[in-house]
């Protein structure tokens, strides 16, 4: 531990702590601009300067480590003069028109710093050199006139996301934030995660939907979950007067630590689908708005007629456990339907549940392992296009020298970064895995005894899958040569043989295993047994609790065959247009409930907006229907989720 004095206060901090962080720990405020608690210290703006006894000049507190017996002062005439001078230079560099800047008022760290120094004006005026604005990106705008070159955006883009899209060109006063080799952001390699917007201290990065609609001082913050996929990122949702303003990554969320992808940050605010506002009933061929009473009565009538095996019931994996369990109770337990499943039909989870049962225990690890692993074996999972945050967690660690082994039958954009990209011929995943297991044995790194001739087996596998044997050996080397390795796979591309081999590879190489699950509550649905593959034969009625999910083409095509369709949904879609009865329900922002993410974390999504009066919760619709059918439902999800072995341990 290090002992130092800041403004007369004795402070003890661990070795390596910067003076800035030591001050923060003691509750002493030092103004900063380029520093960000979640980015590496950079020391570019010099606003955080302090006096340290024994040093001739002021020192940047964000980069200088605290040392024993250091005596630091954070305020003095000299310091205030220096801060004012730095701010003066920053304001003179570009063009700041605060009255019409979306962050002026409370959200601009530059302006706040100037107020903090009591600046009523700029001693040096700007030279009014106009700077361009890049409005080519669909979700945000880069307004160079307000950029202070703190490089937080650039550091977030590489340190947090690993996208490395942003950089600078030129030097000195001509320095410019650019995307790639200076292309418009909208045409760049940007993955639209929005982290740059989240960390920008000024109004230089403008979120198109939230700008001018609210500020920190005028909005309400809600810490909740993204239900975009099974990663289950924590988000901070800003609302004002019952309107969604903006979504930020929640820095305190254990899973994603502030990082989100575009699905979590931008999609909800840019969702322009038309909302369902009243129950609809098909009369004389067309859907007409009716009262809840009439719609419920009509639906109950149809359900009674089709009861039992005549009903196929499908529920969205974007709905909370509370909804899923009532859905299962009503259709499987009370009405006796055999075909009760989820919109994902267990396409990823069914095989995992089967193996959990077979092994009698959980076999997958927690997401935290990704932050510790130094070799990644990614099989089938396209982490560029879905479960993106997992992809960010890998990409951002390349500067540390991590190794990536990629197995994909198709081209995968992660492939550019891979140390070994193994592209097996179609449907030869099993052979490839056998080859890898043999290769591990050939290197003498196998933790499980290997029966057979490793050399021969590697050769055989190489011929079968079309991947050269030295590539197999190289992959096996990376997998076992590193301290911690991890296998990340997509169960959708496995079958029992492949699954068995992945588990064996994990055992023999010592690599941990993690799989992507799909929807936000795909694992929850699996635990409730809502994972059958949907087969319609002679079903007279399809009941779909779609929530705010956009119906997939495959579902629409299958349902089309049904003569009676009842849908509960938040938005108009091709599925609701086909339906005979439509119940308008809440979307994810308007409902409370529990979700189980891909690594078994049981999380609560909190309601952040009040639904309109004519819109019901999914649970309310199911309970009202049960009532009409002369039965009652009880929410008992806590008991049910652990009745079945799970691929990863489930806990809050």
């Amino acid at each position: 531990m290090i002992n130092l004095t800041i403004d007369g206060q004795q402070i003890e901090v661990p070795e390596g702590t910067t003076v800035l962080n030591a001050a923060r720990k003691a509750g002493i405020h030092i103004p900063t601009l380029c520093d960000h608690p979640h980015l590496k210290p950079y020391g570019g703006c010099r606003l955080c300067m302090v006096e340290i006894e024994g040093f001739r000049t002021l020192q940047a507190s964000c980069t200088i480590p605290a040392t024993n017996n250091m005596v630091v002062r954070t305020t003095s005439e000299q310091i205030h003069k220096a801060r004012k001078f730095i701010l003066t230079l920053i304001f003179s560099e570009r063009n700041h028109f605060c009255p019409y800047c979306q962050v002026s008022g409370s959200d601009c760290e530059l302006q706040n710093a100037a107020y903090g120094e009591g600046m009523t004006h700029w001693p040096l005026q700007p030279n009014w050199q106009p700077y361009p604005m890049d409005a080519s990106h669909p979700y945000f705008i880069l307004e160079h006139n307000r950029c202070i070159l703190c490089r937080r955006c650039i550091r977030a883009c590489s340190e947090l996301v690993g996208a490395n899209t942003l950089g600078v060109e030129e030097r000195g006063a001509k320095t410019f934030v650019i995307a790639d080799l200076n292309v418009p952001l909208g045409e760049s390699s940007c993955v639209s995660c929005g982290m740059c917007v989240q960390v920008c201290p000024t109004g230089a990065l403008i979120d198109r939907r939230s700008a001018y609609r609210g500020q920190n001082t005028t909005v309400d913050h809600h810490q909740t979950l993204c239900v975009g996929c099974s990663v289950g990122c924590g988000v901070d949702i800003l609302t004002r007067d019952q309107q969604l303003i903006r979504i930020d990554g929640d820095w305190d969320a254990p899973i994603n630590q502030g990082v989100t992808c575009k699905v979590g940050r931008f999609y909800p605010a840019f969702d322009d689908r038309e909302r369902l506002k009243a129950p609809l009933l098909r009369k004389n061929g067309s859907l007409q708005p009716v009262s809840w009473e009439e719609a419920l009565a009509a639906a109950a009538e149809k359900i009674k007629t089709a009861a039992g095996d005549g009903i196929a019931a499908i529920v969205s994996t974007r709905l909370p456990l509370e909804s899923l369990v009532l859905f299962r109770q009503l259709f499987a337990d009370r009405l006796g339907s055999e075909m009760v499943t989820s919109t994902e039909e267990g396409s990823r989870t069914a095989i995992l549940s089967r193996w959990a049962e077979k092994l009698g225990k959980a076999f997958e690890s927690k997401i935290d392992q990704i932050h510790e692993a130094d070799a990644f074996f990614v099989m089938g999972a396209d982490l560029i296009n879905e479960h993106e945050v997992l992809g960010f967690f890998i990409r951002r660690r390349f500067p540390e020298g991590i190794k990536l082994i990629l197995v994909d039958e198709d081209q995968n954009r992660l492939g550019d970064l891979a140390h070994c990209a193994l592209i097996p011929q179609k449907k030869t995943g099993a052979a490839l895995l056998k080859g890898l297991i043999a290769a591990v044995a050939k290197l003498g790194q196998n933790r499980v005894a290997f029966n057979g001739q490793p050399d021969e087996e590697v050769q055989k596998a190489s011929e079968a899958c079309g991947v050269a044997s030295d590539l197999l050996l190289e992959a096996a080397f990376q997998l076992t040569n590193n301290e911690k390795s991890i296998i990340i796979y997509d169960p959708a591309v496995t079958d029992d043989e492949v699954m068995d081999l992945i588990i064996k590879l994990s055992q023999t190489s010592g690599a941990a295993m993690i799989s992507i699950k799909g929807g936000a509550n795909a694992l929850g649905a699996a635990q409730l047994g809502l994972d059958k593959s949907l087969k319609l034969n002679g079903h007279r009625l399809a009941y779909i609790a779609l929530g705010d999910e956009e119906p997939k083409e495959r579902l629409i095509q299958q349902i089309e065959k049904c003569s009676n369709i009842i849908v509960q949904a938040s938005y108009h879609s091709r599925l609701t247009a086909m339906a005979d009865v439509v119940f308008p329900v809440v979307n994810w922002l308007e409902q409370d409930g529990h979700f189980i993410n891909l690594d078994g974390r049981l999380q609560i999504a909190a309601r952040v907006l009040k639904p309109a009066e004519s819109i019901w919760t999914n649970e309310a619709v199911l309970s009202a229907l049960a009532d009409k059918l002369g039965t009652a439902l009880e929410s008992e999800w806590e008991k049910v989720i652990s009745q079945r072995p799970s691929p990863v341990s489930i806990a809050a």
Partner: protein, 180 residues
């Protein structure tokens, strides 16, 4: 002791700062009790007394030769010069035109504007003030007190005037200090 004399004028601004001054409602009576309000753009007397005033207030930036004269006259005739509002303090909205040449702005305003017919012509009467780059007041004459805000709110203006009236120097901070 006689009441301090106060004069004000406006230049390249929108008059919003003077409107904000009026927005202090009945407190204006208190101000009038405390000070001797001389020339303002919204009262009869238009120029500060030749014999001088104690406090001169300028709204707006300086965007032509006429504004220069106004600013210089005010500076000469007042002891304490107050720059009132973002345009006077920073340049504000009018300064956005500094991104273009004067020729470009004039063409846009008098010739190319959608509502201008084929006869559009840049006025060139030698009697007219000559447009210049838009400057904050302190780029042309020294300023003693800066009151930013677009506009500064009535409470801030009241505070500034009542402090000055009582011979104190206003100290703008916390909710009185804003640039928007």
């Amino acid at each position: 002791m006689s009441k301090p004399k106060v004069a004000s004028d406006w230049m390249a601004g929108c008059a919003g700062c003077h409107m904000s001054l009026l927005d202090m409602d009945e407190r204006i009576v208190k101000i009038v009790e405390l000070v001797d309000l001389r020339s303002t753009p919204i009262t009869d007397l238009k120029h500060p007394d030749e014999t001088g005033v104690d406090v001169g207030i300028l709204e707006g930036g300086i965007n032509n030769t006429s504004n220069e004269e106004v600013a210089k006259m005010m500076r000469k005739r007042c002891k304490i010069l107050v720059a009132l509002g973002d345009c006077a303090v920073f340049g504000g909205v009018p300064a956005m035109r500094n991104f273009f040449t004067i020729e470009e702005t004039l063409r846009r305003a008098y010739v190319e504007t959608e509502s201008t017919d084929a006869e559009g012509k840049i006025p060139d009467d030698p009697e007219l003030a000559r447009p210049t780059r838009v400057r904050a007041v302190h780029e042309v004459v020294p300023v003693d007190i800066f009151v930013p805000g677009c506009p500064p709110d009535a409470d801030t203006i009241f505070y500034v005037l009542s402090e000055l009236a009582q011979g104190r120097r206003p100290d703008l901070k916390d909710d009185k200090l804003h640039w928007h």
